[in-house]
Every structure is written in structure tokens, then in C-alpha cells.
Amino acid sequence: MDLSAIDPLVLAASIMVASTPILLAALGEMVVERAGVLNLGVEGMMITGAVCGFIIAVQGESPALGFLAAAAGGAGLALLFGFLTQYLLANQVASGLALTMFGLGLSALLGQDYIGIKAPAMGEVHVPLLAEIPVLGPVLFRHDPMVYLSVALVAGVWAFLRYSRAGLILRAVGENHDAAHALGYKVVRIRMAAIAFGGALAGLGGAYISLVRVPQWTEGMTAGAGWIALAIVVFASWRPWRVLLGAYLFGGVTVLQLNLQAAGVDIPVVYLSMLPYLVTIFVLVVMSASSGRAALGAPAALGRVFHASG
């Protein structure tokens, strides 16, 4: 065992990279849930985003194009879920599961000719001046653009929900769709927009795995990241900055676990690879045990079917 092989700075810097996929997916899902819709298909949208992004990035030799395609792929799949649940009033739990299975199958089919290829690399952006700060510079300001974009999106979503009228309407729809309908708001359209946004972000998160983190395509490579994103939304009590905190905590555990494995620590690999999932369960238990706050944070109409009876 050689713990000195772990460089704390490298570790800290890699946390942001490790966390970005889950952060993006969880942020999108949080917006969907604030609108009162429970989409359990995050895993399916992420893997679809991962494969769409990878294919287009390879074909177009441009990671940026890849991310755009990933967002479109994720949103497209999400709209399928939206059509089922918002227009055909299907059960949201079942539809979300169907989406995940469909996404896993679709991505495996689309990606079968792309196994073993390397993705075009995405350059790092060193933020001028800030990147030169000792310690903090390498940890915070020497990353690829998607890392910065994900943090900017957290701030954007936060401001949107807190200060904009559209954000207020979105929260109102998630709180009580009957009342929102009675006041003349288009519940279904607002929810469809939220669902598409959530799908796009999940797609970006998936593409970040296949284009930056790994970076290549393998079947089922999201390995439960979508489900962890769902757990982080609960952990965050549906608040944007807490989503960031939860994603970075989880990213930290993952990175630590990988580093410990690499350093040959005296803990069997099986326990280390279980660690992220066990930590997620533990965090869920702690959050739900302190019931009051978690329950109040949840949008009241979450998962309920809306049908305007006229």
C-alpha cells in the first residue's frame, strides 16, 4: 500500500471532472421534478446522449458538435417520455423505466460500430490569471469548457427559479397543477419544456462520460450514473446549489475510491467499487430520516397525473 502515490492536488482537480456528468443530469432532473414530473429515465437519456455525442463527435471530429448532438438526443428521448406521460397520461414510474430500457437498447445498437475508437480530445481552458494561482488554480481553473458550463448552468437554473416569472410559473405548476390550470397556465406545455430541458442536460452528462471522462464508447458505460443523479436530487431537497454539493461529494467518493484502488490499498476491490452506491444509499437514508425538510422540499404535485377535465 502506498498512499503517497495519491497526489491530493490531482485528486481534487479530478473531482470536478468526475462530478460533471452527474451534476448535469441531476440539475436537469431537478428542473423536471420542480415542474411536478418524475422522470426515472435519466439513465436511458444519459446513455443515449453518450452514444449520440460520441458518434457525432467522431464523425464530425468535433467534441462541441458531439455535445450538441448529445443534448438533442437526450431531449428527443425525453420528449418521447413527455408524450407518453403528458398527453397519453401513462404512469410516470413505468414510463421512466421504459425509457431507461429503451435507451440502453438504442445506444447499444447505435454504438456497435464505434467500440474501441478514441474520441477527439477536448482542450482545456485555462482561465487567464486565475489558473496561475497556486493550489487553487490547477484545482479550479484548468478544466475543459463543459466543467465551467455545468457550474454556470447551476447558477442559471438557480436564478431562473428564484427570480424569473417563468421560474415562478414552473414552480407553481409543480406545486399544484389544478390551480395553475385554473389561472390559465398551460400545464402540459410547461412540463414538456421542462422534460426536454432535463433530457438535454442528461444527454450532455452522458456525452461528458463518453467524450471526456473515459473517453471512448462501451455498452452500458453510464453504469448507474443516472440513478445516482436521481438520488442526488432527493439529497439536494430540490435546490440547485445543493445539487452541486451532492454531485461533488459523490464525485469525490468515486475519485477517492479509484485512487485507493490504484494505490493498492488493503481493502478488497469489491468493497471499493461498491462504495459509491453504498454512500448513495446512506445519504438517502440520512436525508429521508430528517423527514420534515426533505418532505417540504418535494414539489407537491410530483408524479401525479394531470388531466384537465374542463
Binding site: 426515472l40 418521447l80 408524450f83 407518453l84 397519453l88 397520461l89 401513462a90 404512469n91 414510474v93 413505468a94 414510463s95 423505466l97 421504459a98 430500457m101 429503451f102 435507451g103 440502453l104 437498447g105 438504442l106 447499444a108 445498437l109 456497435q112 390550470h181 390559465g184 398551460k186 400545464v187 402540459v188 455498452e219 453504469a223 448507474g224 440513478w227 445516482i228 436521481l230 438520488a231 432527493v234 478488497p268 476491490v269 469489491v270 467499487s273 461498491m274 452506491y277 453504498l278 448513495t280 444509499i281 438517502l284 437514508v285 429521508s288 430520516a289 423527514s291 388531466h307 384537465a308 377535465s309 374542463g310
Partner: protein, 360 residues
């Protein structure tokens, strides 16, 4: 414009007809997909849905059908009880794996003793382990109100890590020259889940699946517990008013589904799969979710849906070897089936009207 109008009572006709309609739509969409992949859609659909039943080699495929359907039905029956009560056990795959590991471990521990008691002991161990694995989300749900969907799912990944570990560690075949994977139960008659009738595909798992269907049918139709399960799903507040203890129901439903998934795992690992290996599980725990919904959470429906899903597996394998269709296409086909079912489900509860829309 189309407009939905809620029916005063669910339509009986459409409740029965929607699964058939979903299958038909899946065939159409699947055919289109196969055409895109460069295969003749008619041939592909026939290879998957018709030939295994009535084709030249049907005598072989029909047996395979039961082998594939048994674990799906066994797991789906358990899941359907919980789903009916609004208790979402999504982690049957984990319970299935853990049941297989523990059941197999009991058998392997007894190697090479020959005794009539070994296989029954393995069955009990498998069911118990699956039950125990399902008790984790159950207890967390009842004690701390933790979401059972996420916990049961996280435990799938934990179970997979365990499987990877034991198949190359604890349960590895000592005579296997270092290759991962346990001893093969085919070489250990006392612990082998052999075919009861040669060539018919009937092993103990098939028998257990049939018993589970009958059990669930009686439970839901005639027993107070089954009534309480249905009531809780339809109207949770009314169930409390009727004296149902929701925590107890969570424990019972998750327990039954965990035990049945564990059983399915044990029967699979000691029979068709033959050994513990890193990929023996083949995702039955997830496919069973589709089976449960496709069967409308009704025992007889699940029986039929399990056979249909087995058909896509068997037919898919045949199509893969005969036409070179990728196995992912079959996975996609199964996903489509669930999608179409959910989409046409609306017909059972709503009338579709043409005309002006409300200002919605």
C-alpha cells in the same frame, strides 16, 4: 384535434385488447427497424415471432421458451404484487443475483456429498437470500421513509460487484485452472436443477413459476391480503381507512418479490446457466419489469407476457444467428414493446374524441 375523455369505468374490451395492439405496433416498428438495419422485415419478424413456435426446429425452441420464460414469470409475479400496491421494487436483478450466489454457495459447500437434501437446501437458501436483500429497501422504507426505487436499484450494482468478486474469488472452481467461474452444477447431480422431462424444457423453476402464478391468482382474487394490496395501489388513503398497515404491506410485498427473484436466480444458476460466472444473470430482473407491465400486473397476463418475452429472446437468438441481427436490436424491441403498451393503455381509461379542444 384529439381530446381525451375519462371513461366512467375502465373499458373491459380495451383492457384485454391493448396488450395485443401493443404487440402488433411493436412488430410494425420493429420491422421498420430491421429494414433500416438491412434485413427483410417480414423474414425477421417471422424468424422472431413465428418460427420458434411453428417452424422447422420448433421442437427445440419450444423447450427453450419455457426455460427462458420461467425466471421472467417467477420474478414478474413477485414484482406485480408490489407494483399493484404502489411499492416499486426495481432491484429484482440484485435479489436474483444474491439468491443465486447464496444458493449456489450452499450447494458448492456440500460438494461432493451426494444427498437428496442438498437441492432443497439450496432452494431455501436462494429464496432466503433474495428475501434478505429485498428487506434492505423494505426496512429503510418503513423506518426512514427512504425511496425504495433508488435503494433497491443501488443494491443491484452492489450485488453485481459481489458477483464479480465471488466468481473469481470465493466460489471459483478450485479445479478450474485459475479461470473465473464456479464449478458447473451439471457435473454435480445432487445440486443440479436438471430437466424433469428430457427435451420439454421443464425444470423445477418452471414448476415453481406455475405455482407462483396460481398462488398470485388466488391471493389477488380471493384473499384479504390480495384485496389490501389492490386497495393500497388504487387509493392509499382508503386502504388506511380499511385498516391496512402500510409498513407491513411494504415488508410483505418486497419480501415476496425478493424471495421469488432469489428463487429464480437459484434455479437459473443451478440449471440453464450451470455455474456462477460474472455474466450468468443476463438481465432477467429488469426484463421481468416489462413482463409485469405487459401482463397488466395480472397473474394470467404475466404468464402469457413471460412466454411472449421468452419468444423475443429465443427468436432473437435465432435471428441473430440466421440473419445476423445484433442482440441490441432485440433489447430495443423489448423496450419498444413496453413503450407501446404504455401508450395504448390510455384507451382503457379514456375515450378519444375528435373535436375542438378545451382551453387547456
Amino acid at each position: 384535434m384529439l381530446r381525451l375523455e375519462k371513461r366512467p369505468s375502465p373499458s373491459r374490451l380495451w383492457t384485454g385488447a391493448t396488450p395485443l395492439l401493443a404487440v402488433l405496433l411493436t412488430m410494425l416498428a420493429g420491422g421498420a427497424m430491421f429494414a433500416l438495419l438491412g434485413s427483410d422485415p417480414v423474414v425477421a419478424i417471422r424468424t422472431i415471432f413465428w418460427d420458434p413456435l411453428f417452424g422447422e426446429f420448433a421442437f427445440y425452441y419450444r423447450g427453450q421458451l419455457l426455460v427462458k420464460a420461467a425466471p421472467l414469470i417467477l420474478i414478474a409475479i413477485g414484482l406485480s404484487l408490489g407494483f399493484r400496491a404502489g411499492i416499486w421494487n426495481i432491484g429484482a436483478e440484485g435479489q436474483y443475483i444474491v439468491g443465486a450466489i447464496v444458493g449456489a454457495a450452499v450447494g458448492l459447500a456440500a460438494y461432493p456429498t451426494e444427498s437428496r437434501l442438498i437441492f432443497p437446501a439450496m432452494i431455501l437458501a436462494g429464496a432466503f437470500a433474495g428475501w434478505l436483500w429485498a428487506m434492505i429497501p423494505a426496512i429503510l422504507k418503513t423506518r426512514f421513509n427512504t425511496n425504495e426505487i433508488l435503494v433497491s436499484l443501488m443494491l443491484v450494482y452492489v450485488a453485481e460487484a459481489m458477483l464479480a468478486s465471488v466468481s473469481s474469488g470465493l466460489l471459483r472452481n478450485p479445479d478450474g485452472m485459475g479461470f473465473p467461474g464456479s464449478r458447473n452444477f451439471k457435473d454435480y447431480p445432487a445440486a443440479h436443477n436438471a430437466f424433469l422431462i428430457e427435451g420439454a424444457g421443464v425444470h423445477w423453476g418452471v414448476v415453481a413459476a406455475m405455482i407462483a402464478v396460481i398462488f398470485a391468482y388466488v391471493l389477488l382474487g380471493r384473499h384479504v391480503l390480495g384485496f389490501h394490496i389492490r386497495l393500497t395501489g388504487e387509493a392509499p388513503r382508503a386502504a388506511r381507512f380499511a385498516g391496512v398497515n402500510p409498513s407491513l404491506l411494504v415488508v410483505v410485498c418486497l419480501g415476496i418479490s425478493g424471495a421469488l427473484a432469489g428463487l429464480a436466480g437459484l434455479f437459473e444458476v443451478s440449471g440453464p446457466a450451470g455455474q456462477i460466472s460474472i455474466d450468468f444473470n443476463s438481465g432477467y430482473g429488469f426484463t421481468a419489469i416489462i413482463v409485469a407491465f405487459l401482463g397488466r400486473l395480472h397473474p394470467v397476463g404475466i404468464l402469457l407476457a413471460g412466454l411472449l418475452m421468452a419468444l423475443t429472446y429465443v427468436g432473437g437468438d435465432a435471428a441473430a444467428s440466421a440473419l445476423g441481427l445484433p442482440s441490441a436490436a432485440i433489447q430495443l424491441l423489448q423496450g419498444m414493446l413496453l413503450f407501446f403498451l404504455l401508450a395504448v393503455d390510455v384507451l382503457a381509461n379514456f375515450r378519444i374524441r375528435f373535436g375542438r379542444t378545451e382551453a387547456a
